[in-house]
């Protein structure tokens, strides 16, 4: 290396380190809470490859790598964006209730000697990283909407913009001290911030990019459902970190969220296969997996606010509403939200955010609020408004971003590339060999 570069790098690095310095005996940091948050962070990280497999199994063979890649590379891309400016925008010092400032960009100015205000018993860096994994998976969720036809370069640019202009502001509003939290919106682990934002973004994406060629042909059959089941299992597993980790401590609140998460998921999976049985004559395995994801989505905003029986009710609702959205309404409307991101995350997220306003109870979580069914109709109103805000913001901004990227780069691969498949056309690789 040239000396000048080294010196420049050095100067850049110094403040970061100053900031990172801490007292090992930092009072207030609890080893149990820290262990739990670090594990939860790892669990949430694993969800993105889980999602990659969940989606990858559902596409055609020729698009498997392209689909896996769209999730996998988000870890890398948003993982850096988060360190460099995303965390600062979302959780940095609040400006007018709308956005965090760039004061914490690159984590340079962070006071890391101790914990943050967000989570006083764990290292600030642990909280930052935990939140980072949420920022990573959210744009990855959207990729299901434009599966099998998006240009990789355009996808990268879009995702970076989306994380910056949709995710980071929304996260700030709800969790970073912004106006929606002042307004009273309840969102335990990301109904508004993660699922509504990605679900509505997905709807916008499906509309802007248009349907796949030759849709409806037998060859659209999932090429590898065991891969999808594995992905769903990893998502379920990781979601314990997502929801119970959002307690930010290892105590009764985490246990409540853990139980609510699992219970709603069970109920939703069973509900979905019952709908399958009713409408199609057989319970499907893809239905069980999809139902489980719908339940996980719906319980996300509510997990730390509701008891087990409410979780069952939320899970049943998720099963029914998402089933209807995916299996009944979508085929009629005819847009090609290829892997049902809107139907599962959009609809499930909306239901979950509203259900939080119905089933929340201070009996379950004394630090929470009561919902409509526990005598506090106002909270339901708050949830309705919050949902409308998130729905509108995510849909509109995503739509605009996609239109811009389409102008500048072009969103969609060419017809020949689509026939050839993303694996070869975008990545020059094949998922599987054919000859032995």
């Amino acid at each position: 290396m040239h000396k000048s570069i080294v010196t420049a790098a050095l100067l850049l690095l110094v403040p970061a380190f100053a900031a990172v310095a801490w007292a090992q005996d930092a009072s207030g940091i609890d080893s149990g809470d820290t262990a739990w948050l670090l594990v939860s962070t790892a669990l949430v990280m694993l969800m993105t490859p889980g999602l990659a497999l969940f989606y990858g199994g559902m596409v055609r063979r020729k698009n498997v790598l392209g689909t896996l890649m769209q999730s996998f590379i988000m870890i890398a891309l948003i993982g850096l964006q988060w360190i460099l400016w995303g965390y600062s925008l979302a959780f940095g010092p609040d400006h007018w209730g709308l956005i965090g400032g760039l004061e914490w960009a690159g984590l340079v100015a962070l006071d890391l000697t101790a914990a943050s205000d967000y989570a006083p018993t764990v290292p600030h860096l642990a909280f930052m990283m935990f939140q980072g994994m949420f920022a990573i998976i959210t744009p990855a969720l959207i990729t299901g909407a434009f599966a099998e036809r998006m240009k990789f370069s355009a996808f990268l640019v879009f995702s970076l913009l989306w994380a910056t202009f949709v995710y980071d502001p929304l996260a700030h509003w709800v969790w970073g001290g912004g106006w929606l939290s002042d307004f009273g919106a309840m969102d335990f682990a990301g109904g508004l911030v993660v699922h509504i934002s990605s679900g509505l973004g997905a709807l916008a994406a499906a509309l802007v990019i248009g349907g796949r060629r030759g849709r409806g042909m037998p060859t659209m059959t999932p090429h590898n459902l065991p891969m999808t089941i594995l992905g769903a299992a990893l998502l379920w597993f990781g979601w314990f970190g997502f929801n119970a980790g959002s307690a930010l401590t290892a105590g009764s609140l985490a246990a409540l969220a853990f139980v609510a998460t699992n219970t709603a998921t069970c109920a939703a999976a069973l509900t979905w296969i019952m709908c399958d049985w009713l409408f199609q004559g057989k319970p499907t395995v893809l239905g069980a997996a999809t139902g489980a994801i719908a339940g996980l989505v719906a319980i996300t905003p509510a997990a730390g606010f509701v008891g087990p029986l409410s979780a069952i009710a939320i899970g049943i609702g998720a099963g029914v509403f998402c089933y209807l959205a995916v299996a009944v309404i979508k085929p009629r409307l005819g847009y090609d939200d290829s892997l049902d991101v809107f139907g599962v995350h959009g609809v499930g997220g909306i239901w979950g955010a509203l259900a939080t306003g119905l089933f929340a109870s201070t009996l379950a979580n004394p630090d929470g609020t009561d919902g409509l069914f526990f005598g506090n109709a106002a909270q339901f109103g708050t949830q309705v408004v919050s949902v409308l805000v998130a729905v509108t913001y995510a849909f509109v901004v995503t739509f605009v971003l996609l239109k811009i990227v389409d102008r500048v780069i072009g969103l969609r691969v060419s017809k020949d590339e689509e026939i050839l498949g993303l694996d070869i056309s975008q990545h020059r690789e094949s998922g599987y060999t054919i000859l032995d």
Binding site: G214, M217, T219, L420, I424, R428, E429, S430, I434, L435
Partner: protein, 113 residues
């Protein structure tokens, strides 16, 4: 009787099947195949090592028919498979002296349909 073997692009299978059905030819056997033809292949890259891939994915259809259906089948396959681009494929017509339906033991013209 003839055994007609057609090699086509995988994404044309649907329309070839529809075209065959349109001609009243409902029986066939399909296998995956890889073809090398005039259509140029592509390059794949694994950790910086380039690999020319000439064997492209194709679908192989076999249809056994009586003589009077031969042209119908050829026309249907051409209709369903043609895009006008290199790689559309080939049809091979073989003589078929004998045919047996396993279920009934019928032979020849009776067995083929």
């Amino acid at each position: 009787m003839k055994l007609i073997v057609a090699i086509i692009q995988p994404e044309r299978l649907e329309s070839v099947m529809d075209a065959l059905d349109g001609e009243g030819v409902h029986l066939r056997t399909v296998t995956n195949a890889l073809g090398v033809g005039r259509q140029k292949g592509h390059t794949e890259v694994y950790r910086g090592v380039r690999e020319a891939v000439n064997l492209l994915k194709k679908v192989r259809i076999e249809v056994a028919v009586n003589e009077e259906f031969v042209d119908k089948v050829i026309d249907a396959v051409v209709k369903g498979a043609r895009t006008g681009n290199i790689g559309d494929g080939k049809i091979f017509v073989l003589d078929l002296p004998e045919c047996v339906r396993i279920r009934t033991g019928e032979r020849g013209v009776d067995a083929i349909g």
